[in-house]
Assembly symmetry: C2
Homo-oligomer: 273 residues x 2
Amino acid sequence: MWYIEKHNENYQVGWRVSDILYQKKTPYQNLAIVEFAEFGRSLILDDAVQTTEKDEYVYHEMLVHPAAFTHKSPRRALIIGGGDGGTLREVLKHKTIEKVDLVEIDEEVIKASKQFLPSLSESFNDPRVEVIIDDGIRYVKKVKNYYDLIFVDASDPVGPAVVLYSEEFYRSLFDALTADGIAAVQSESPNFYPDIFVKIVTTLRDIFPKVNVALAPVPSYISGFFAFTVASKVYNPKETTPNITFPTKYYNEEIHNACFALPNFILDMLKIR
Amino acid sequence: MWYIEKHNENYQVGWRVSDILYQKKTPYQNLAIVEFAEFGRSLILDDAVQTTEKDEYVYHEMLVHPAAFTHKSPRRALIIGGGDGGTLREVLKHKTIEKVDLVEIDEEVIKASKQFLPSLSESFNDPRVEVIIDDGIRYVKKVKNYYDLIFVDASDPVGPAVVLYSEEFYRSLFDALTADGIAAVQSESPNFYPDIFVKIVTTLRDIFPKVNVALAPVPSYISGFFAFTVASKVYNPKETTPNITFPTKYYNEEIHNACFALPNFILDMLKIR
């Protein structure tokens, strides 16, 4: 049996499925946990792969560490989405972190991850974590000057995640951050979804003084680069040398510097050359 | 109609085909030129996409420029394979180049590219180019101390290209290069073909004093990174600042430095951390 994911009308990928472990229609989306022969266990929401055991580390490390090391001593972090726990796991590796709030709209995602994806969801057991089942947009609007780091670990801009790509939302992120806070926003594929990618980056550029795009290919998501935008009030990630004190599988000091180098076709999309 | 390419037993990609322009069984392989709705015209050999109009620049720029700029003033270059003309086009952009020999085993590839892929094959009209229809292995064995640059623009290690991955062949590349020469070798996908990737890099490391891997994702090839190994006798690409005097779509000065940064999972494969 093959799982086929259409990335657009003209391009699709297919993975052989060894097992379907769980399926549920939640109030927000269709959720499935399947076992792929190539990528291991995978969380699928509304027919889009969210994470796979084999390569989830690329996405989660690259969403978290370029931003977190740029801050140097973050104490409080917020994760919007991220119900699988992978982003949470990476944030908790930073020893200065005292508190992480994770706001997930669909608690069924957390439940399924706790049952089927322990290598990601073990992070929920850390005493520094508070889980809030709520709409991330509504939640973050109420917070002012509180978080050192905010991670937007949203689904693709369909279903419940579509409003996570608006200017109003990004302004509320800015206000919820401390004076030297940093937001990291998953920013889709510049190759396959250039309009969404450009909109996220240019909107963040209107609000934050220092905006840089980090790139890394995530094999199970989509071919080509995947983008992560680091939107910072004070610190510049390109002038940061990370002091990495824990094991990683993708991110390292050289990658920190290299990930912000953009090829010409992306500089052209963003009109910055 | 969909063209389906199996990258292994458990993973495949599919592209909608708008048109089949040409099909021929050559003495060496099955050759086709098709039009993909997403990637434009594409050369397919033995059921593997070799190049597409939309993203061929990533592969061809990244095979050529990191090596060519590291040399600084290359005069003579050899291309093994590369019958579509894309690598040739990029080599000829370097103004110090006086002569490029292109050794392609299957002249039908060049003929088809000249007819259907003019944006790549226009490079064959340059007076500095000599095309040699021959087995690249046999050809390069006869040459000593002649080329400043050699590019191995081979197909995947199936069909006629399988011997292009042997230690004997890499030794003959070394001998065919001048005293400060550089070889650049397409080195497959570290994610999907780690054994081939590691074999290429480690074999080159046994022969050349300075071996560095450049990475770039090529969307139409395979998901994740694609690798290019730069095997150099004298110059170190990581200590090179390129002076780029012509337009490029992917490669730039920041990318030159960034492309040699390897994520931890690749450092581990290569046992260099």
